[in-house]
Symmetry: C2
Subunit: 125 residues, 2 copies
């Protein structure tokens, strides 16, 4: 039984249509991986990081990695999100780990290369 989970952290927006692609990512990703993967928003949209951490710890999760769906680590990831995680850790008995933004993972560069190459092939047909 797994005791770890991952939270995909998106920025959040007051535009309701903005959420749908992130919810699609969460839905497409979960069946492909073993650990629980859930979506949270940094601000403006629900569920928040704290809501998700509370849900996961209630399920017995003791270790949560937070993967920011950001391309770059700006002020939000350098200051706001670490501050939120520090507060959450005070109230929940869980090991929280903030990962680098997805745009800085080698797998993301692999994905970009794949997209460029597949478009190149497409163009040759």
């Amino acid at each position: 039984m797994t005791h770890s989970a991952m939270i995909l952290l998106a920025h959040g927006s007051s535009d309701a249509r903005w959420r749908a692609p992130f919810e699609a990512l969460e839905r497409d990703l979960q069946p492909r991986v073993e650990k629980p993967v859930v979506l949270a928003f940094m601000e403006l949209s629900e569920p928040s990081l704290e809501t998700r951490v509370a849900e996961l710890t209630a399920r017995g999760i003791t270790h949560i990695e937070v993967l920011p769906l950001f391309f770059a680590a700006g002020r939000h990831l350098r200051e706001d999100v670490p501050g939120q995680l520090e507060e959450i850790a005070r109230d929940h008995p869980v090991d929280l780990q903030l990962l680098a933004p997805v745009g800085q993972h080698p797998a993301f560069v692999d994905a970009l290369a794949g997209i460029v190459e597949s478009r190149a092939q497409h163009g040759q047909i």
Copy 2:
């Protein structure tokens, strides 16, 4: 000889530090793909889309795909960027094609699954 190129389109920011990860992506990606791949910004940062299109057409490029480094297609991708491309197309003899944002390509979900799984393996060591 290739006559097509790809522009990676990032949002842009007044925070100078925000650019670095996008420039790193451009640098890491180019040696891995055959066609020219360059970075442009929608607003607030240089080079702009128009600057990049002018550079590429001066090199003999006749077909340019624009891949938005966005997770979701919000107002920017539904309205602002198509408007910019329409204006640019008036001044430059080039075929411009706006692709879906990178977050909506299947390769991106593959990358996310890879990141989640590699972290899971890491956690088991």
